[in-house]
């Protein structure tokens, strides 16, 4: 995982450029017929030069939102501003954005260079300039020398590069990408993540990409909007999203989480006392004084296991119910004597044999500050 690369502190260097966001989405709703809207009152601001991800489960409206930016769908309500101007009624061919489609949509009857040149040709860019820009764009995506090939003579990864070059050659202000990596095999996908990030830095424009793969979003994006059933649940930098989710849905969708239901017993002076059935009382640092029923969550890798009772603020006993070996780490599934289940992830930092047995007792603890309190 390369999660650390975009830390929370990363936000400062972008502050200077954010005089006006390149994309402003205000209260945008899209309905297809009756029933639940596909996109429901979404507000987003994307500053210039950001690599922004729309993340969410299948059918949550990511593609629909992206298509409204490109001009292929009209919002039922709300307004979209691109580079300061309202784009309502502006056809796709007039918008300063370009899209990389999920199927890549490389024109099958045109050679690679004709594909890349197409956007310049239809807008009347002179032939000499066209050739120069096509050459440049093909170089950018490392397809030099393949200009004469036909799409059916290319691999999936190469076709994607054609789609990228074809969009970038137009020099858009924003590049929209719909699940750009989902059609590639696992190894190539990993490689292309880095390549897309580097490409973004090389061309310096805003990228907005859609994905349902949380690893992809976390490892690539500067900021992520998590969507659920048409609504944006949280917009944050990857580390914030992972460590400080604002609701049960986000906590559960991003990474793995142990989620319990509990109640706030006492609140005040930057501390909460929580009561979780099966765990007992937990005193944790927490800025906002919340009350009532809350979700109490902890990430599996924050859970510590030991054979002896640890010197921690709180700890409890559990037995190993099951475990799964993943090479770099092992996942343990534990159950407390009160029947509460919880998962823990331990890194396999030594080469030694794994000494875990089903039914073995363990002491479980975590730092109070690692506890997530979720009100929604």
């Amino acid at each position: 995982m390369t999660r650390g690369r975009h830390g929370i502190g990363n936000g400062t260097d972008r502050g200077a450029a954010s005089a006006q966001p390149i994309i402003e989405i205000r209260g945008v709703t899209k309905r297809f017929g009756a029933g639940e809207p596909a996109v429901d009152s979404v507000d987003l601001e994307i500053p210039e030069g950001e690599l922004f991800a729309l993340l969410g489960p299948s059918g949550c409206g990511k593609t629909t939102l992206l298509r409204m930016l490109a001009g292929f769908e009209t919002p039922t309500a709300g307004a979209i501003r691109i580079d300061g101007s309202d784009v309502a009624g502006m056809p796709p061919n007039r918008r300063p954005v370009n899209m990389v489609f999920q199927s890549y949509a490389v024109f099958p009857h045109m050679s690679v260079s004709d594909n890349v040149a197409y956007g310049l040709r239809v807008t009347g860019v002179p032939a000499a300039e066209r050739r120069e820009r096509v050459r440049e764009a093909l170089g950018l995506v490392r397809l030099d020398g393949l200009g004469a090939r036909k799409p059916d003579q290319l691999s999936g990864g190469q076709r994607q590069r054609v789609a990228l070059a074809r969009a970038l050659v137009k020099r858009p202000r924003v590049l929209l990408l719909d699940e750009p990596l989902s059609a590639l095999d696992a190894k190539l996908r990993e490689a292309m993540r880095l390549e897309l990030v580097n490409l973004r830095i090389a061309v310096g424009i805003t990228f907005v990409f859609v994905t349902h793969d949380q690893d992809e979003a976390l490892s690539m994006a500067d900021r992520i909007a998590v969507m659920e059933r048409g609504r944006v649940r949280q917009v944050a930098e990857p580390a914030t999203l992972y460590e400080y989710p604002n609701c049960r849905f986000v906590a559960d969708f991003i990474g793995k989480v142990n989620l319990f239901e509990g109640t706030v017993r006492a609140a005040g002076s930057g501390e909460l006392t929580l009561e979780v059935p099966g765990l007992g009382a937990l005193r944790i640092p927490h800025a906002e004084p919340v009350r009532g029923a809350v979700g109490v969550a902890v990430r599996p890798e924050k859970v510590r296991l030991s054979h002896t009772r640890p010197d921690a603020q709180f700890s409890f006993e559990a037995t190993v119910e099951d475990f799964a070996y993943y090479g770099s780490e092992t996942h343990l599934f534990l159950v407390t004597d009160k029947g509460l289940r919880l998962a823990a992830t331990v890194p396999n930092s030594d080469r030694g044999p794994i000494r875990i047995e089903r039914g073995a007792p363990r002491f479980v603890s975590w730092r109070p500050g690692d506890t997530l309190v979720l009100t929604e």
Partner: protein, 294 residues
Amino acid sequence: MSATTRRPPPGPLEYGRRAWMRLTLLATFVFLYAPIATLVAFSFNDSRRNIVWRGFTLKYYEKAWNNDSLLEAFTNSLTIAFASTLASTVLGTLAAVALWRFRFPFKGPHEAAMALPIVIPEICMGVAMLVFFARIGWPTGLPWPLNLGAITIAHISFSFPFVAVVVRARLASFNRELDEAARDLGASEWQAFRDVLVPWMSPGLVAGALLAFTLSLDDFVITFFTSGPDTVTFPVKVYSMVRFSVTPEVNAASTILIAITLVITSVALWMQGRTAARRADGSGGVTEAGSADG
């Protein structure tokens, strides 16, 4: 080979090695082509009657060529076929694209109504056309080729649904993202249609046009009801000739018609094959500079 070496039994797909399969195949070919072969062969027969072979001659081709009314019918047929092919290809394509592209009320009934001329018995279509042209008082006695108007219109009306069906089938496999990609890259709706959709449809266009052409060329029933004394087409003329006797002259004319149809079909297939080959062959000289301004 010793007598004990036996050929292995035929595999599941080795149809050619099963006797009954060969027989069926042979019978099919005989039924399909024997009449045509006979027709062609007897056009060269040196006899007034189509019964016994009397030796080779080309005199009936000469006779057919010098038969002015047959020639006129032939010209009429070709003129009508070209005009109606052109019109029904355009109309059929537009109808297919509209049905594929847009959502509108009563789309299902529209589509079904359009396919109606395919299923309505030809005789009914013929009568309907006759009544229709009489009812609206379609002018007769116009100079050539305007006098062919009624027949051409009738031909368009029964052949454009075939084009629409063929093109529609081709469009079903079109990836709409291709059209959107073109629009996204700056193409107007018309440019996207011309540069992306038309190339995709082209095999369907060729097939549809061919279908329209042959349908028009050999239509008898509907034409019979819409033609007048000065607008005889080839099938109608042949019919009137065979009412007296089937002379080798008719055979000769029919053979020429078959030849023309074969040539046109081959040319169309060859053109299609050439585009397909050019598509598959990336180094086929289609470079940015070469084709971009096309």
